[in-house]
C-alpha cells in the first residue's frame, strides 16, 4: 500500500534524468522528495539548486521543516545570491523545475497571483509569481504538479497569466512539458500544445479525471495506468528521505494540515533534542 503523496513523489522522480541540474522553489516538499528519490535511485549525479540558501548541492540529506535550511546550507557546495541566481545562473543553466499552479489552462499557462474577483480586490490573493513569470518565458524544462486535482485549478480561462504556456506569442523556451496531479500524468501533446492525459493513477479512470477538469482533455493514444511505486521507492521515501512525512503537507488541507504541521514540529524537536 502507498499514499497519493508517495505516488506523486515517485512520478516526479521518474521525470529526472541522471546528470541533470534541478531547481527547487519554496514550500515544495513533494518536489524535494522526488528529486532526492531520483538521487538515491537512477540519478546519482544530480545537482540541486535551491531558492532557500541559493546553493548548488550534490549531497543527500533528509527533509526538515523547522530545519528546512539544513539540506541546502549544510551541504551546499557553492553559494550564489538571489540577484546572481535570477539574472545570470537561471538563464545560463536553465534547470528543470516543478511549479505548483494556482490555476492552469488547457495550454499550460498558469496563475499564482489571484483567483476570483478583480486584481485590485481579489476573492483569494495567492502568494505571487516568484520566478514563474521569468523562467517560463525562456526555459525548456518547465514541469507542473497539482497535489489536489479539481475544477478550481484546471480552468478554461485564467484570472491572471503569470506563467507562460504553449502560446503563439512565445519566442523562446518550450512551455511546460509535463504535469502530474493526484489523479494522473499529462503532457502537452494535444492539438496546439493542449494538456493531454498520458496515464491515470491506479484507482481512478480517465472519465473521473475528465469530470474533475474544467475543460476537455486530450487523451494520449497509449493512455494507460500509472506504474505504482516499487517497494524500494517506498522504503527510501519513508525511511531515508522523509521520515517526518513533510511531503504530505501539500496534499492536506485545513485542520488536518495544521494537525500534521504540529505533529511534524514535535517529532522534529525530538530529533533535534537527541542530536
Amino acid at each position: 500500500m502507498y499514499t497519493i503523496d508517495e505516488l506523486i513523489c515517485v512520478c516526479i522522480s521518474r521525470q529526472i534524468e541522471d546528470g541533470e541540474l534541478v531547481a527547487q522553489g519554496m514550500s515544495t516538499p513533494l518536489v524535494a522528495a522526488g528529486y532526492l528519490l531520483a538521487k538515491l535511485t537512477h540519478a546519482p549525479n544530480l545537482t540541486f539548486i535551491s531558492a532557500i540558501g541559493q546553493t548548488f548541492c550534490q549531497e543527500f540529506a533528509p527533509l526538515g521543516l523547522a530545519t528546512v535550511e539544513n539540506l541546502w546550507l549544510r551541504n551546499g557546495l557553492f553559494t550564489i545570491n538571489f540577484i546572481t541566481g535570477v539574472c545570470d545562473f537561471l538563464p545560463r543553466y536553465q534547470p528543470k523545475e516543478f511549479f505548483r499552479p494556482g490555476q492552469v489552462d488547457p495550454l499550460g499557462n498558469f496563475n499564482n497571483v489571484f483567483m476570483g474577483g478583480s486584481y485590485a480586490q481579489p476573492r483569494l490573493r495567492l502568494p505571487g509569481s516568484a520566478g514563474i513569470a521569468d523562467v517560463t518565458v525562456y526555459e525548456e524544462k518547465v514541469c507542473l504538479y497539482v497535489p489536489r486535482h479539481g475544477r478550481h485549478t484546471f480552468v478554461p480561462q485564467l484570472d491572471f497569466r503569470s506563467g507562460v504556456g504553449h502560446v503563439p506569442e512565445r519566442t523562446r523556451g518550450s512551455g511546460p512539458r509535463y504535469l502530474v496531479s493526484d489523479l494522473g500524468q499529462f503532457d502537452f501533446g494535444g492539438e496546439n500544445g493542449r494538456l493531454r492525459l498520458t496515464t491515470h493513477h491506479p484507482g481512478t479512470t480517465p472519465q473521473r479525471i475528465q469530470a474533475k477538469t474544467g475543460f476537455p482533455l486530450a487523451l494520449a493514444p497509449d493512455l494507460h495506468e500509472t506504474k505504482p511505486p516499487t517497494a524500494e521507492e517506498l522504503r527510501l521515501l519513508r525511511e531515508k528521505i522523509d521520515p517526518l512525512g513533510i511531503r504530505t503537507l501539500e496534499t492536506l488541507r485545513g485542520a488536518h494540515r495544521k494537525a500534521k504541521l504540529r505533529q511534524i514540529l514535535a517529532a522534529e524537536k525530538g530529533i533535534l533534542g537527541r542530536g
Partner: protein
C-alpha cells in the same frame, strides 16, 4: 572607521512616513522580526510605507498588519509551508493594500539598475505574461543588436534597509550565516542601512559578507530573527509561527505584538 553600534531605540526614528523600507532575509529565514516588533511598539507608528522585500513573510505580515504599509513590492508573500500570510491576505482581499506586482527578475534587475546608477536593466522576463497589465509603468525595449523585444525593468530606490545578521562588528562589517538572498545588494542600494545582529564584536577579521561601508547603524539584538530562523544559530520556531497565525485569525494581532 566610525563606531556605529547603537541601541535599537536610537534607530527607530530613522523610519519615517512615506519611505520605501526593505527587509533583509527571506520569507521565514533571518528576518528582522525584533526590529519590526519594536517599530510597531513605537508611538506613533510609521504610515504609508512602501515595503520592498524579495520574498515577504512573517516580519512583512506584521508591518502590514500594524497598518504601516500602503504599498507592497514583492514577488512572493506567504509563510511557505505554514500557509498564507494572514494579515496580508486579509488586507488585500479588503482592497486596503496596493500591490506593486513584482517577480524575482523585476526586483533583481531593478536593484541591479539602482546600484549601477542606471535607469533600467533589460531582461526576457514577463514577455507573454499579464504582469504588464498591472504594471503599466514597466516598458519594453528593442535590443539594438538583435531586434528582440525585452522588458526594461526600472531601477528600484530604497530609503532604509533593515538586515538581520549572524555577526557584525562595530563598523557594520557582517557575516550573514548563509541564505544570502539579496541582502548585499540591499545594503548597497539603500540610503540608510540598519543592521541588527545576533552577536557584535569589536572587529571582524574577514572575509565578511557585507561591508560596513554603506551601513548606518549596528544594533545588538540576540534572537533578533525569532521566530524566523537565524542559521546556524537557531532553526525557525514553527509552533510560534502557528501561534501568530492563530492570533491573527482570532482578531488578536495587536495583543500578539504587545505581548513582549
Amino acid at each position: 572607521m566610525q563606531d556605529k553600534l547603537v541601541d535599537l531605540t536610537a534607530v527607530l526614528p530613522l523610519i519615517r512616513n512615506n519611505q520605501t523600507i526593505a527587509l533583509g532575509g527571506m520569507t521565514i529565514y533571518r528576518r528582522p522580526v525584533a526590529f519590526v516588533r519594536a517599530l510597531l511598539q513605537r508611538q506613533p507608528r510609521p504610515q504609508n510605507l512602501t515595503l520592498l522585500t524579495f520574498t515577504a513573510g512573517l516580519a512583512s505580515d506584521m508591518l502590514v498588519g500594524g497598518g504601516c504599509v500602503s504599498h507592497v513590492r514583492t514577488c512572493y508573500f506567504g509563510l511557505e509551508s505554514f500557509g498564507l500570510a494572514p494579515m496580508f491576505t486579509k488586507m488585500v482581499e479588503n482592497g486596503r493594500l496596493t500591490i506593486i506586482e513584482e517577480s524575482e527578475a523585476s526586483i533583481a534587475c531593478g536593484l541591479r539598475a539602482a546600484v549601477g546608477q542606471l535607469g533600467f536593466i533589460p531582461s526576457r522576463a514577463w514577455q507573454g505574461t499579464d504582469l504588464f497589465k498591472v504594471r503599466p509603468d514597466v516598458k519594453t525595449i528593442i535590443d539594438p543588436y538583435s531586434g528582440e523585444t525585452l522588458t526594461a525593468f526600472p531601477a528600484i530606490q530604497v530609503d532604509v534597509a533593515i538586515i538581520h545578521v549572524l555577526k557584525a562588528d562595530r563598523f557594520g562589517n557582517a557575516i550573514l550565516g548563509g541564505n544570502p538572498t539579496i541582502d548585499e545588494m540591499l545594503s548597497n542600494v539603500a540610503k540608510t542601512v540598519i543592521l541588527t545582529a545576533e552577536a557584535v564584536v569589536d572587529k571582524l577579521e574577514g572575509p565578511v559578507e557585507l561591508t560596513g561601508l554603506p551601513v548606518t547603524a549596528v544594533c545588538h539584538q540576540p534572537n533578533g530573527a525569532w521566530p524566523t530562523s537565524c542559521y546556524p544559530a537557531y532553526p525557525l520556531d514553527g509552533e510560534e509561527i502557528l501561534r501568530y497565525i492563530d492570533a491573527c485569525n482570532a482578531g488578536q494581532f495587536e495583543d500578539y505584538i504587545f505581548e513582549r
